[in-house]
C-alpha cells in the first residue's frame, strides 16, 4: 500500500474539482462534496476515463480500468465525495482498489 498524505489528498482534490469545473463549464465554487458528477454537472464516462488517465500519468500509477469498474460495482460514484474517495484509494492501492 502506498501512503497518502493530506498534501497529496488536497492535490488530488484540487485536480479533480478543477477538471470537472473546466470540462463541465461550471464555477469551482458550485462543486461541493454532495455534487453528483453525472446528474448535476453533466459529466460522462469518457470524462471519467480521461480523469483516471490524467491521475495515472501524474502519479505514475499502473491501474487497469477493469479494477476501477469492479470497485464501482460495489461503490457507485454518486457524489464528488465518492469520486475523491475512489481516487485516494487508487493512489494508495492501485489495482487492489477492487478489494477495498
Amino acid at each position: 500500500m502506498r501512503e497518502i498524505t493530506d498534501a497529496i489528498k488536497n492535490e488530488i482534490k484540487d485536480m479533480v474539482i478543477d477538471y470537472y469545473a473546466e470540462e463541465c463549464e461550471v464555477d469551482k465554487s458550485e462543486i461541493t462534496m454532495d455534487t453528483n458528477p453525472t446528474e448535476d454537472l453533466g459529466s460522462d464516462s469518457l470524462m471519467f476515463v480521461e480523469l483516471i488517465e490524467m491521475t495515472a500519468d501524474k502519479y505514475d500509477l499502473d491501474i487497469k480500468l477493469q479494477s476501477i469498474g469492479k470497485y464501482m460495482l460495489k461503490t457507485p460514484m454518486d457524489t464528488m465525495a465518492d469520486v475523491l474517495d475512489m481516487f485516494y484509494k487508487i493512489y494508495q492501492y492501485g489495482n487492489d482498489v477492487v478489494n477495498q
Binding site: S45, F48, V49, L65, Q66, I68, G69, L73, V98
Partner: protein, 303 residues
Amino acid sequence: MYNRAFLFNGIGSKPEKLLAQLTPEMTDKYESYRAEAFTRLGLDMDMEKNTGYSAQAAEWMVPFLCDRVVYEYFIDKGIIPDIGAGYSSGIVSASACFGSIKHTDAHDIVMTHLSMFRGLQEKGIKLNMGIVIGFPYDDLKELLSGKFNSDELIIGSSNSSFHNMISGKAEAVEKAIELCISEGAIKAFPMNTGTAFHHPLMEQYSQEYIGLCRNLDYKEPKYPLISVFDQTVLQTVDEVKKENLHNVCTPMRWDLALKKLEELGVKQFFDVSANGAIKKFSRVGRKCKVYTLEDVINGDYTL
C-alpha cells in the same frame, strides 16, 4: 509526408449538441445547405413535422450538413488537411468533403440507411449495437469469444485502448453488456440502433446501399484517406469506392487507423464533428494533438 489529418464522425451525435457549437455565420450556412438537401429529399424544414422514417432521415442529415460546414470553416481558416479518415458514416462525409463523391450522393447514401432500417423492421430482425468502455480490444475479444460466436456478436470497432463498439443480434448485445459490466467495464450500454452496422450480417440487408455505392460517379479525392478497415492509404477512385462499399458490413479498427496516421507523420488531428465527438473517444500519442472546432474558434490553434 503527412502532418495534418481531418477526422470525420458522420452520424452519431444529437442534432442539438452539434448545432449548439456553430457560430451564427456557420448556422446560416448550415440552414442554407439544409434547405437545399431537405427540399431535394422531400423532408420538412420544421424538424418536428417529420415523422417516422422521415424524422429519422432528418436527424441523420444534420451531422452530414454540420460536417460540411465545419470542414469548409477549417479550409477558410487556411487549415488544409494532408489526409483524412472517416469513422463509420464519417467515411461518406469524408468522401463528400474531399470531393470524391457529391454531397447529394452522401445524402442519398443516408437515405439508403433508412430503407435498410425499414427492411429489418419489416422482417422482425432484432439487431443492436453497444458501447463498452474500460477494456482494451484484446481483453474484450477474449472475454466475448468464449461466450458468443461471430454470427451473433462481434467487436464492430475498437476506437481506443479503452473504448469499443459491439454489434450483432440484439439478445447477444444485451447479454454481452451484462457480462462486461460484471467484469469491470466502466460503462457498457446498448445504443438501441435497431441495426448492427459493421457486422457482416448487415450485407444481406444493405443491397440498396451497396448498389448505390457501386454506381456512384467517384472522383479521386482531393486529399487521401486512411482506411479504417485495413489501414491502407486510399488515393484512387477504386480505393475510395471500396472503402464506402465495405462500410456497413465490415468491422473497423479506428484505433489502428489513428496509429497508422501517426506512423505516417501526422501530428495535428482535426475533429470535423461540430461537437468534438471524435476527440472524446479517440486517443493519440503525446506528441500529437486533436483539435476541435471549439479550439479553432477560440484561437487555441494557430497556423
